[in-house]
Symmetry: C2
Subunit: 315 residues, 2 copies
């Protein structure tokens, strides 16, 4: 497959967004290395602006718009990390951001996006209403719809996390990335394809939202229905841009159970003293569950975010 | 007062222990800076080996012993971070460590010290029994007693955290340090006295264990009785070596209430995504409580540790 994103495009993306994001640290932990019998390099996007990697894709998407498009604003539907990221990235560039959220979204999520300058537009909690509401904003203001993962500018932005990792840590055998809609995983796979061909890319997915695992093995998109997982960033389905990239560039998908996610999250908190959200912990769980695969290897791990409701911890 | 620890001694200490400890990162956080209206530089000893700065003093104390003393082992009484630190530092140097803990100490504390190779010696939960039990170990094995804060080799070791901070961040107006027995604060004050005279040193103490505040203002040691604070590392009383250093080198002591400690801890977790223990959060609480003092200043903050029981969070 000829890749839809070139090496030069990735380099240009990185140059474009670097002034607006944090270069996050890569950390190691002796205890977890011993448990995994591998050398793990954790790329800490939990320390990223707005608490997740989503600011990378959001920033690139906004900077990729024309001045005229920017002047009319952007709209997305998300109640998760992309809502905060887009609000922050847009506000920083002086661009108006509307965020469509269901009425029943937790008020803390609404407040977070508002805190970064986004304007919440409430809708009934159905897919149809969500899309109708976004269409209304587009119709009324001429805003551009930005998708949280299924657009190339977003995917290119997410790739930059792995570009930084590959520059800081050489000779990685694997990079393991959380897998929901596939934006981060697609970006990770593109970065490895262009900058470290020897590095195999693996997606880590909750068993309770394993549409990507099933799609990967079926060879066609099987949408996620009724996802059941604590990893709230990974409940989404693959998109028509992310699936082909994953199918052709990703070497495997590992699924993990809910208790494994919680255990991995707690282990990481107590040993590394770093707050990762359940969606990030899925990677750690996948590695500890597959010791024979990773034993003796150098493994990059993208810890995608650290946005957790401290009042409602899963233990 | 002529200082009991020289600049050359601190430099030698740092050289001695550096191969055995982590150089911990200094992090900043925009949101917390905005709240404090100051430039805060957090020295993250929560990422230190064994989860706290205590490994610095423990390592220096062990490396300062003669070969013969080392061959007979060391003993301490502690159920906190020093127990883990001494166990780890001793084991790493091939030195036997006995840790005297009351029978009723939480099993998680015993397991932690044992996990690092220390041997737990249980005693009845009284001061007399603790000292009798330590004396018994000394009598039987010829072990050397190491105190968790009131010995110069330990104090010199703790000073190295601030030495690293002063090297990484110039022109600090203040350094704020948690204050329990005063080992970390004494070391901090010595480091500033020798390497950054312009930097004022402030201790942060829980109101529920404010013996240092009262001693500082009375001009004599007033021992802590019945401390009531969630900051379990700060329940101890000043020692006869730490008090004179604090009295002569520390510019002020700020006390904070329990709810302020909990709020600061939660704020730091949610914003910085870094796990700090209540004893560390006392510094953040002290700064947010005294905005007029710190406004516009460059302030170093020693985050002493990150050992928290995740099953029993204070919110």
């Amino acid at each position: 497959m000829s890749l839809p994103v070139s090496k030069d495009q990735l380099l240009a993306t990185r140059q474009l967004i670097t002034p607006h994001i944090h270069q996050t640290p890569v950390v190691t932990n002796n205890t977890i290395n011993q448990m995994a019998q591998a050398d793990l390099f954790f790329k800490c996007e939990c320390f990223q602006r707005t608490g997740s990697f989503k600011i990378r894709g959001a920033t690139n998407a906004i900077l990729s718009l024309s001045k005229e498009e920017q002047s009319k604003g952007v709209v997305t539907h998300s109640s998760g990390n992309f809502a905060q990221a887009l609000s922050c990235a847009a506000t920083k560039q002086g661009v108006k951001a509307w965020v469509v959220m269901p009425q029943n979204a937790p008020s803390v999520k609404k407040a977070a996006a508002q805190g970064y300058g986004g304007e919440i537009v409430e809708c009934a909690p159905t897919l149809v209403d969500r899309e109708k509401t976004a269409a209304m904003v587009i119709e009324k203001y001429g805003a551009t719809l930005l998708h949280s993962y299924n657009q190339y500018p977003v995917i290119r932005g997410q790739a930059t996390a792995t570009m930084e990792l590959l520059e800081e840590v050489q000779q990685l055998d694997y990079v393991v990335t959380p897998l929901g809609g596939g934006g981060l995983l697609s970006g990770t796979a593109l970065a490895c394809a262009h900058f470290s061909e020897r590095t195999k890319v693996i997606g880590a997915e909750p068993l309770g939202a394993d549409d990507a695992y099933r799609s990967f093995h079926a060879g066609k998109i099987i949408p996620q229905t009724n996802p059941q997982t604590i990893a709230d960033g990974l409940r989404t389905s693959l998109g028509d841009l992310t699936f082909p990239l994953i199918k052709s560039l990703v070497s495997d998908i590992i699924t993990v159970e809910e208790q494994e996610i919680v255990d991995a999250m707690k282990l990481f908190w107590s040993r590394a003293k770093i707050i990762i959200e359940p969606s990030s912990a899925v990677t750690v769980a996948a590695i500890l569950k597959n010791k024979s695969l990773f034993a003796g290897k150098r493994v990059g791990v993208i810890l995608s975010g650290g946005n957790v409701d401290l009042e409602r911890l899963p233990w």
